[in-house]
Symmetry: C2
Subunit: 192 residues, 2 copies
């Protein structure tokens, strides 16, 4: 669990004893490619820390069309964090795009952390702020960046993503049609 | 500052002494209708608590079109919270839709709170979580609710909003054209 430990220590000061108790509430879980880590309609009691693999978040609209809203890769956390916080049913699905290894931070672990870790509330604040900034930046970018800029930004944030997930999911994440995405990729290749 | 005190006490336990010191960092400010509370390109060092009035948040896209992304009314907080947290330049504008009275929570107040309030970090966590849930719910609704459902939901969240702000801003917030909004309003009137 070294990677998770490092990630927590980047957020807060935590003693070895605190860390060990916190981690005793966590558990490992692996998911084969295409498996769902969590499903719409479920109660969400888990946050996933990704040790290996790539996860996509999708939502299905009223017309039945799937939209890929997020990706998360190694050393990142992923969850339907709204549903985790509100304990209302999830509307998202989390799907493994490769065989993936995760560490599950249970609701029990998080609640224990808020009560017992010296800086537990700070960790919760930083996680919520991170998620908020991430989401809001996505919204801002949808207005203020061109499709080309959003494509380039995505390639920076998720290196090698084009070899890891199907192109139509990338198009959905950027908010362009698959045909538009092909044109963007072609234009970038011609510049090299 | 009674309303702000109540709002804070709903989030955390706080002594009178802590409250008074915290509020000593805050200040009142009024804005006439159409005035901007904060502008794009600015550094954001203030969160506004609305005592009276209504504020809209807008962003201008690369084509120069304004999009109304949020409203906030009495007893709510509003800010470009991402820019406040990251201290990067704001891309949003906050505009008063009526003569509005606010209490400004300065960055100095918030930073002091994290360090000195017994439950300051918890307050920060709850504010960030609230913002995150609000934003994520907006995104979910754009996929999973019909325009009619989004219209009805907005009327519940912001009672009387139709008499307080121009219709084209409401249409923008819901994500429909002004013509579509007129049809939704007409259909609702005919049901009464």
């Amino acid at each position: 669990m070294e990677l998770l430990k490092q990630s927590i220590r980047q957020m807060i000061n935590i003693s070895d004893e605190e860390m060990n108790t916190f981690l005793s509430f966590c558990k490992r879980k692996s998911f084969p490619r295409k498996a769902y880590l969590s499903d719409s309609g479920q109660s969400i009691k888990e946050i996933f820390f990704i040790e290996k693999g790539i996860i996509r978040v999708l939502i299905t609209d009223i017309g039945g069309t799937e939209h890929t809203t997020h990706f998360a890769i190694e050393h990142q956390y992923i969850a339907d964090y709204s549903a985790f916080l509100t304990q209302q049913k999830s509307k998202y699905q989390l799907q493994a795009m490769e065989d993936s290894d995760t560490i599950i931070l249970t609701k029990e672990a998080i609640d224990w952390g808020y009560k017992n870790l010296q800086e537990g509330e700070k960790m919760g604040r930083l996680i919520a702020e991170f998620y908020f900034i991430y989401l809001d930046t996505r919204i801002q970018n949808s207005y203020t960046l061109t499709p080309k800029q959003r494509y380039d930004l995505m390639s920076t944030i998720f290196p090698n993503i084009h070899n890891r997930v199907p192109q139509h999911m990338i198009a959905s994440y950027i908010g362009v049609t698959p045909v538009h995405l092909s044109r963007l990729k072609k234009a970038n290749r011609q510049k090299l």
